[in-house]
C-alpha cells in the first residue's frame, strides 16, 4: 500500500491549462488594476513575504545583539528601534494579513462556490492601503525609525521620544483600514454569495475561521484607529487625554489599545486554525471530528476575545476586582482552543494518514500551539502573571502561538494550496526537510526564552545580567537554524514555478469546491455554478464522483 495520497496526472502528457487566471491578461496594469480575488491574493503573497523577511532581518539583529550581555553590537537607541520595528512589521504587515489576505482572498470565494468576493474593488483598495501602510513603515525605518515598542505606551510615545511615532501611527492606521475592508468583504461574501445548497454547516472550517476573524477585524480595528488618532493629537497638540498633569489618564490609552490588540491576536490565529482543519482532514482522508464544535469554537473565540483585553494590564494599577473578572474570562477563552486541539487530534483517529509537507507543518502547529496556548493560561492566571509578565516568558508565549502556531499554519496552507494556485507541485523531500528544520530551529530559539522569563529576564532589554547569557546564546543559535528553515521555501517554491511537477486539478484528492476545478483556476473560478449537495469533508462523495468520472471515460472510450 502506498504511503502518499498525492495523485498527479501523467507527467508526460499533462499540461497547465491554457486559460487560467494567470494567463488571462498580461502586463503590469492587468495586475495592478485587477479585480480578481486570486490575483489580489498573489499580490498580497508577494508583498507579505517581502515584509516578513524585513521583519526577520530585524529579528536577526535582535538575536545577534543578545548574544552578549552588554549592549555592544549597536547603540541602545538603535536596539530599541530594531525591536519596535520588528514588532510593527511582523504584527501589522505580516501576521494580521497573512492567511486572510493571501489564502483567504484566493480561496474563500471558491470554497463557497462564488465567482469573486462581494466587493472586488474594495478588495483591491485593501491591497493598496496595505502597500501604502507598508511603504510608510519602510520610510519610517529609513528616516530614523521609531523606538516606542509596538505597543506605543503613553506617555513615552506622546512626550518622551523624538522618533517617528506619527508616521508609524499613520502607517498602522492605514494598514488597519486594509484589514477592516478585508474583513468586511469576507463577511458580506459569506453571508450573501454562497452557492445553492451551501448551508452554513456545509462550509469548510476554513471559511468559519475566516468568518470569526473577520468579525474581529471589523469590530476591533476601529478602536485601534481611534487610539492612534488620540495618540497623534496628544503628541502634536497636547490635548491632555493621556496626560496626568492635565487630568488625563495614561491608562485610558492602554484600555483603548488593548481593546483592539487582544482581539488582534485572535485575528492572527483563527485563519491559521482554519487552515489546520482543512489540512488535517485531507491528510487523514476523514471529515473533521466534531465539525460543529470546531465551527462554534471559532465564533466563541471571537466573541470571548473581546472581553479579555485587560489581562495585558494586570499589574498596571487596575482594580483587583477588574483583574478578577478579566482573569476569569481569559480562562473561558482558553477552552475553545483546547476543544479544537482535541478535535483535530481525534480527526486522526481511524483515519488514513499520510505525511506530506502540509501535514508535517500541521503537526508542528498542534504541538507548538498547545505549548503556547497553555503558557497563555500561566499568564491569564493573575497570580502567576505578576512574576511572568513583562519578561521573556511573554516573548516566548507569543512567539510560540504566533510563530510556532500561526506561521506554521501559514506555511502549511501555502504548501497545501500551492498546486491549486500555481498548477505546480513543490518538491516534496526538500520541503519536508525545511519543515523539520523549522521545527527544530523554532524550539531551540524560543524554548530557552520560557526559562529566561521565569528567571526574571525582562523583555526589551539590550543588555542583561551575565548569568542569562547561556540561554540567550542557545536562542540565537536556534534563530540561525530557523532562518534557514524559512529561507528554503522561498527558494524551492520559486523553483517549482518553472520546474515543479504539473499538479492537475486535485493532487491531494481533497473535497473542497476549490479542488473540483482546474489548477490554476479560471478567472471566473467555475464554468458552471456549483451546487453543493454534500456535506463538508465528504470523502465518500468524492469517491463516488471519481468512480462516475472513470465510468464516463470508460464509456466514451
Amino acid at each position: 500500500m502506498s504511503d502518499t495520497i498525492v495523485s498527479l496526472p501523467d507527467q508526460s502528457t499533462a499540461r497547465i491549462p491554457k486559460m487560467n487566471y494567470l494567463s488571462k491578461e498580461n502586463g503590469l496594469l492587468s495586475w495592478l488594476l485587477t479585480g480578481d480575488h486570486k490575483r489580489i491574493g498573489i499580490l498580497y503573497l508577494i508583498s507579505i513575504t517581502f515584509f516578513f523577511f524585513i521583519g526577520g532581518a530585524l529579528a536577526g539583529l535582535i538575536r545577534l545583539e543578545l548574544l552578549t550581555p552588554q549592549s555592544d553590537l549597536m547603540a541602545t537607541d538603535t536596539y530599541n528601534k530594531v525591536f519596535t520595528m520588528h514588532g510593527v512589521v511582523m504584527i501589522f504587515l505580516f501576521l494580521v494579513p497573512s492567511v486572510p489576505a493571501t489564502l483567504g482572498n484566493f480561496f474563500l470565494p471558491m470554497m463557497i462556490g462564488a465567482k469573486d468576493l462581494a466587493l472586488p474593488k474594495v478588495n483591491l483598495l485593501s491591497w493598496y492601503l496595505y502597500m501604502i501602510g507598508g511603504i510608510l513603515v519602510l520610510v519610517t525605518m529609513i528616516t530614523g525609525g521609531v523606538d516606542t515598542g509596538w505597543t506605543f505606551t503613553t506617555p513615552l510615545s506622546t512626550h518622551y521620544v523624538n522618533t517617528n511615532v506619527l508616521s508609524t501611527g499613520l502607517a498602522v492606521f492605514i494598514a488597519g483600514f486594509s484589514s477592516i475592508f478585508t474583513g468586511l468583504n469576507f463577511i458580506v461574501t459569506i453571508h450573501k454569495m454562497r452557492a445553492p445548497g451551501m448551508t452554513w454547516f456545509r462550509l469548510p472550517l476554513f471559511v468559519w475561521a475566516h468568518y470569526a476573524a473577520s468579525i474581529l477585524m471589523v469590530l476591533g480595528t476601529p478602536v485601534l484607529a481611534i487610539a492612534i488618532v488620540l495618540l497623534a493629537l496628544e503628541r502634536t497638540i497636547g490635548i491632555g487625554v493621556f496626560d496626568p498633569a492635565k487630568g488625563g489618564d495614561p491608562l485610558l490609552f492602554q484600555h483603548l489599545f488593548w481593546f483592539y490588540s487582544h482581539p488582534a491576536v485572535y485575528i492572527m490565529i483563527l485563519p491559521g486554525m482554519g487552515v489546520i482543519s482543512d489540512v488535517i482532514s485531507t491528510f487523514s482522508r476523514k471529515r473533521v471530528f466534531g465539525y460543529t464544535a470546531v465551527a462554534f469554537s471559532s465564533v466563541a473565540i471571537a466573541v470571548f476575545g473581546f472581553f479579555v483585553w485587560a489581562h495585558h494590564m494586570f499589574i498596571m494599577g487596575v482594580s483587583n476586582y477588574a483583574v478578577l473578572v478579566f482573569s476569569l474570562l481569559t480562562m473561558l477563552v482558553a477552552v475553545p482552543s483546547a476543544i479544537k486541539i482535541f478535535n483535530w487530534t481525534f480527526t486522526l483517529y481511524k483515519g488514513s494518514i499520510t505525511f506530506e509537507t502540509p501535514m508535517l507543518y500541521a503537526f508542528g502547529f498542534m504541538g507548538l500551539f498547545t505549548i503556547g496556548g497553555l503558557t497563555g493560561v500561566f499568564l491569564g492566571t493573575s497570580g502567576t502573571d505578576i512574576h511572568l509578565t513583562e519578561t521573556y516568558f511573554i516573548v516566548a508565549h507569543f512567539h510560540f502561538v504566533m510563530v510556532g502556531g500561526m506561521l506554521m499554519a501559514f506555511l502549511s496552507g501555502i504548501h497545501f494550496w500551492w498546486p491549486k494556485m500555481t498548477g505546480r507541485m513543490y518538491p516534496e523531500k526538500i520541503s519536508q526537510l525545511a519543515a523539520v528544520v523549522t521545527f527544530i530551529g523554532f524550539n531551540f530559539t524560543f524554548f530557552p526564552q520560557f526559562i529566561l522569563g521565569t528567571l526574571g529576564m525582562p523583555r526589551r532589554y539590550a543588555s542583561y545580567p551575565a548569568e542569562f547569557q547561556i540561554l540567550n546564546v542557545f536562542s540565537t543559535a536556534g534563530a540561525t537554524i530557523l532562518g534557514v528553515g524559512y529561507l528554503l521555501p522561498v527558494l524551492y517554491l520559486t523553483w517549482s514555478l518553472k520546474y515543479g511537477a504539473i499538479a492537475g486539478d486535485n493532487p491531494w484528492q481533497a473535497t473542497g469546491l476549490e479542488w473540483q476545478t482546474q489548477s490554476p483556476p479560471l478567472t471566473e473560478n467555475f464554468v458552471e455554478m456549483p451546487i453543493m449537495d454534500h456535506e463538508a469533508y465528504d470523502y465518500e462523495w468524492l469517491e463516488r464522483k471519481n468512480l462516475e468520472k472513470q465510468k464516463e471515460v470508460a464509456s466514451v472510450g
Binding site: D116, K192, M193, P222, I226
Partner: protein
C-alpha cells in the same frame, strides 16, 4: 437568504442583454448585488460605531470624573447655534430620505432637488460649525499651547460664562476644562470630517443623478449613501446633548 433561492442556471451570463448593465459578473442577479452592497454598508457603519465608540467612552469617563469642569466648559458652547445645527442636520436627513424615495420611484428631478437640498443643509451645518470653531480659537479654548483658563478663572471676563452665571473655578478644576475641549474638538472634528466626506460624495451624486444614473432602477448607491448620511446625523444627535446640554435639564 437570496443566495439559497438563486436558480441553478448553470450557464455563464455572457449575453449582455440578458442582464442590466450595472450587474457585476460575480453576482447572479441584481437582487443579490443590491443585497450584498446594502449589507456591506451596514457593516461599515458598524465599524464607524466602534470608531466613535472609543471617543464616547473617553468622554463619558472624563465627564464622570470632572463634572464641574465639564459643566463650566460646556457653557462656552452656544445652544442656539448647536440646536439650529441639529435642526439643519435632521432636515437634511429628511431630504436625503426623500431623495432615496425619488430614486426608487424614478423621479429624476425630484432626486436632484433633494440631493441639492441635502448638500446645502450639510454645508450650512459646516458653516455654523466653523463659526463655532473660530469663536473657540479666538477665545483660546483650543487645547494645547495657547489654551487659556481665563474664562473659567474669571467668568465675568467672558460673556458666555457670565450669561450662564458661572462661579470662578479653582485652578485645579479649571485645568480640567482643557480635557473637555480636547474631546469636544476630537468628537465634533471627527464628525465634521465625516460630513465633509459625505458632502463631497453628495456633490458627485448630484452630477450623476442629473445624468439619470440613479433613476434607472439601480438605486443602491443612493440607498447606501442615505444610510451613511443618517448615521452621521445620528452621531450628531448623540453629540449634541452630551456636549451642549450637560447641565440643562
Amino acid at each position: 437568504m437570496s443566495d439559497n433561492s438563486a436558480i441553478a442556471d448553470g450557464v455563464l451570463e455572457n449575453a449582455h442583454d440578458e442582464h442590466p448593465a450595472h450587474l457585476r459578473h460575480h453576482f447572479h442577479d441584481v437582487e443579490q448585488q443590491a443585497d450584498a452592497s446594502n449589507f456591506a454598508m451596514w457593516l461599515f457603519l458598524l465599524t464607524e460605531v466602534m470608531f466613535f465608540g472609543g471617543l464616547f467612552t473617553a468622554y463619558l469617563i472624563y465627564r464622570n470624573w470632572y463634572y464641574p469642569a465639564f459643566v463650566s466648559a460646556s457653557h462656552q458652547l452656544s445652544i442656539p447655534l448647536g440646536g439650529f445645527n441639529t435642526l439643519l442636520l435632521i432636515t437634511s436627513s429628511f431630504t436625503m430620505a426623500m431623495g432615496v424615495w425619488c430614486a426608487e420611484t424614478r423621479r429624476k428631478s425630484g432626486l436632484v432637488l433633494c440631493l441639492i437640498l441635502t448638500f446645502i443643509l450639510g454645508l450650512g451645518f459646516l458653516g455654523i460649525k466653523s463659526i463655532e470653531y473660530s469663536e473657540k480659537i479666538e477665545k483660546h479654548h483650543v487645547p494645547g499651547f495657547h489654551y487659556s483658563l481665563n474664562s473659567f478663572l474669571d467668568p465675568d471676563s467672558d460673556a458666555a460664562a457670565k450669561a450662564a452665571g458661572d462661579k470662578p473655578l479653582p485652578l485645579d478644576v479649571a485645568r480640567h476644562t482643557e480635557l473637555y475641549f480636547s474631546l469636544y474638538f476630537a468628537m465634533t472634528g471627527m464628525h465634521a470630517l465625516h460630513m465633509i466626506i459625505g458632502i463631497g460624495i453628495l456633490g458627485f451624486m448630484i452630477f450623476r443623478a442629473s445624468a439619470g444614473a440613479y433613476t434607472g432602477g439601480h438605486i443602491t448607491f443612493v440607498e447606501n449613501f442615505g444610510l451613511y448620511w443618517h448615521f452621521v446625523d445620528i452621531i450628531w444627535i448623540f453629540l449634541f446633548p452630551l456636549l451642549y446640554l450637560i447641565s440643562r435639564h
